[in-house]
């Protein structure tokens, strides 16, 4: 294997592709958490998105319906979470965990008949440019539309939170729901919207796995990516751009260590497999040292139940 420049380009392209589900799920969860809701059901919502996307593709043979359907399924399952935590005031942590367990179980049941069915090729954009330009070609071109969306999302999220009125309201609700309510903001509604948005993004992240990244259905195919996304949000101290950086590092080291294992480096395999987790945490901790900034970005009311005085 030669480390020529075009190989590195292909490598970077594959790293980008592998970090897409993390970016999508983490960006969605980031908005949810910024409104003060801690939804630990990311893994469950992702896997539901994965199976419903794949199933819809098989049934309708239409990728657009499959993608939209996976997002809708994420919305529906997160609606359960929203109803429980916002309307029935259940504990966020317990409800989120239950959602994950429920999602994994339900997806396995629904997916029984879809195991072994081959997926459909997902259209990629600018495929001619990918081949013709060395190095930059495989990095910039020849990806699915979802990847481009995923890479734009952290910047859009950042803009939304920092520059728009709605973003300001989301941050305000996450900071102090009581104050927000006293200012006449409908806290419950804002939180519902953020939860549903998070659900949609997790559904899309799941569909990316089952329709684009590895086009097939395998039981439990999210393989803990939902938990990584959750951890990314916290270690990135609720900053969308840092989520992107973290997801790339994680994806990058995952791919690199696979290559290192293949080449046969004399490092224990277990250590190499643990490397992505370790490095992501170390890098994110190092770039998020500014305690003042952490304080400003952390949603103060995260995970706390809010109820309106009557």
């Amino acid at each position: 294997m030669s480390l020529d420049i075009s190989f590195i380009g292909i490598l970077i392209g594959s790293i980008m592709a592998s970090s897409v589900p993390l970016i999508l799920a983490a960006s969605g969860e980031l908005i949810t958490e910024r409104s003060g809701v801690l939804n630990l059901g990311v893994e469950g919502m992702m896997i539901i998105g994965a199976i419903s996307g794949f199933a819809l593709m098989v049934i309708t043979d239409n990728l657009f319906i499959a993608i939209v359907g996976s997002m809708l399924s994420g919305v529906i399952i997160s609606l359960i979470f929203g109803f429980l935590t916002q309307s029935l005031l259940t504990n966020h942590v317990a409800t989120g965990l239950a959602l994950t367990i429920f999602g994994i179980g339900l997806s396995a049941m629904l997916g029984k008949n879809f195991v072994g069915i081959p997926g459909k090729e997902f259209p990629i954009l600018f495929s001619s440019l990918k081949e013709s330009i060395p190095f930059f070609g495989p990095i910039l071109f020849g990806h699915s539309i979802v990847l481009y969306f995923a890479f734009a999302l952290p910047f859009l999220t950042n803009y939304f939170l920092k520059k728009t009125k709605l973003g300001l309201i989301v941050r305000a609700v996450g900071d102090s729901p009581v104050s927000a309510s006293n200012q006449g903001i409908n806290v419950i509604l804002v939180r519902y919207c953020c939860i549903l948005y998070g659900g949609a993004m997790c559904g899309l992240a799941g569909a990316y796995l089952s329709l684009i990244y590895t086009p097939q259905w395998i039981e439990n195919m999210t393989a803990g990516r939902g938990w990584i996304a959750l951890a990314l949000v916290v270690f990135a101290t609720w900053s969308p751009i840092k989520v992107l950086i973290g997801a790339l590092i994680f994806g990058g080291i995952t791919i690199l260590q696979l290559h290192m294992q293949a080449i046969g480096f004399r490092i224990p395999v277990q250590f190499l497999s643990a490397l992505p987790y370790l490095m992501t945490i170390i890098v994110l901790v190092v770039i998020s040292r500014d305690s003042r900034k952490i304080k400003l970005n952390t949603p103060t009311s995260l995970g706390r139940i809010f109820y309106k005085e009557k």
Binding site: N182, G184, I185, K295, N297
Partner: protein, 499 residues
Amino acid sequence: MATDLRISNISKIYPGCIANDNVSLQFKSGKIYALLGENGAGKSTLVKILSGVISPDNGEVFLNEKNLKLSSPLDAKKNKIGMVFQHFNLFETLSVFENLSIDATEDNKSLRVRINEILKKYNFSIDLDVPVLNLSAGQKQKVEIIRCLLRSPKVLIMDEPTSVLTEQETEELFISLKKFCDEGILIIYITHKLKEVLSLCDEVAVMRKGKVVSVSQTQNERVETLANKMVGQKLAKIKKKINISKNKDEIFKVKHLNFYSDDPFETNLVNLNFSVKKGECLGIAGISGNGQNELFQILSGEIITPDTSIIFRNKEIAKLNPKQRREYLMAFSPEDRISQAAVPELKIYENVALNNFKSSNFFEKGLVNEKKIKDHSKKILSDFSVNTDNVELKSQFLSGGNLQKLILGRELITAPELLICYNPTWGLDVGAINYIHETLIKINDQEKSTILISTDTEELLKLSDRIAVIYKGKLSKIMPSEEVTPEKLGVLMGGGSID
């Protein structure tokens, strides 16, 4: 245009408590109205109803004879009723400007222009682009006021606005409020501080147990008459018999107390030396932020400073931690009842158990001896007339006064030789203040000593045998309290000299 606000037969009943019982009041613009009452008298409920946060069970609110339907805070805003809550309704992690823009209807540019106009007009100096958590309490309150002013309110309600302010900030607030009043804004001022009513307000309505018990012109009232109306009985006047005897033993002696900190929010202490005699109360006066926090923490052992000598009952204790100091019969009552003295989420008896001694046997072989702690707690509750006998109650449901009684009780039931307290009556109502003052005097009568760090000069003059003033981390000379007048204290507290 004149504003006329009328509240008619408002009632609000919570399970087990009538917060507002048929309250009717009338307010007209051009005057500042006081709504006076002890904690729990129903003032806050009434203003929450006026601001639309909660809805009354019964009754109506009229603004200029128009019946208002206040079912949400938005309704109050639309009807130009502005409200500054006791606990600020700000978003700490957002910038000042973001806080103000959140419910604005105009674009950011013109909003900034309008905010700057207000800042200039009322002489407020606040940086609009720093996060609110960096502001002082006084500045935060100004942000709240600006938020109201942006909506050009007809009515401005202030709920206990001075409880978190320094004296300087209080004065500034009063000047602003008078200005607003002259501009035709109707001001309703909620408080339990009698002097503020007399110095600021034109009319005063007194509430007690959910009812309005009197409405009068403040010029016809005095502190005593208002206090009696508020409490509903005649308050005994407390005056301490000063006992200075030169021969008594020094029980507590501090030498070379120095403290340096890099934190700009902490005050350095410079060479403090003082001693306390048996049965004596040493008062330490000063405007808050002059080193009282640091001094209290060093005396209690939360901060250990090198080279300081603290002799207590002939033993050197400067290196001991708070628990060890307690074992030597010292007791502490910090300023912040909620976060320093007690854990609000814990039950009363659990809070009592926090202050455990080897001798108290609250814990046996690592297990909690619940019965013993509960019996002990019940004794505290009855001995210190806390308004409940339920030791299972969470401490957060106690009023400030009752919580302070519980804390003092917890500290005093072990019969300490020295009690160090910091603003023990901060934010309490007259009844509770009286009780705590009586308790503190009783300690001295029993030949036990106290150090009273307080920002309330009246309290210091009432309770201390000797008084010193702390200013910018330095202690003035210690004076016998009969030689001290409020004026002298005022000069020293402001950094002046009286010699």
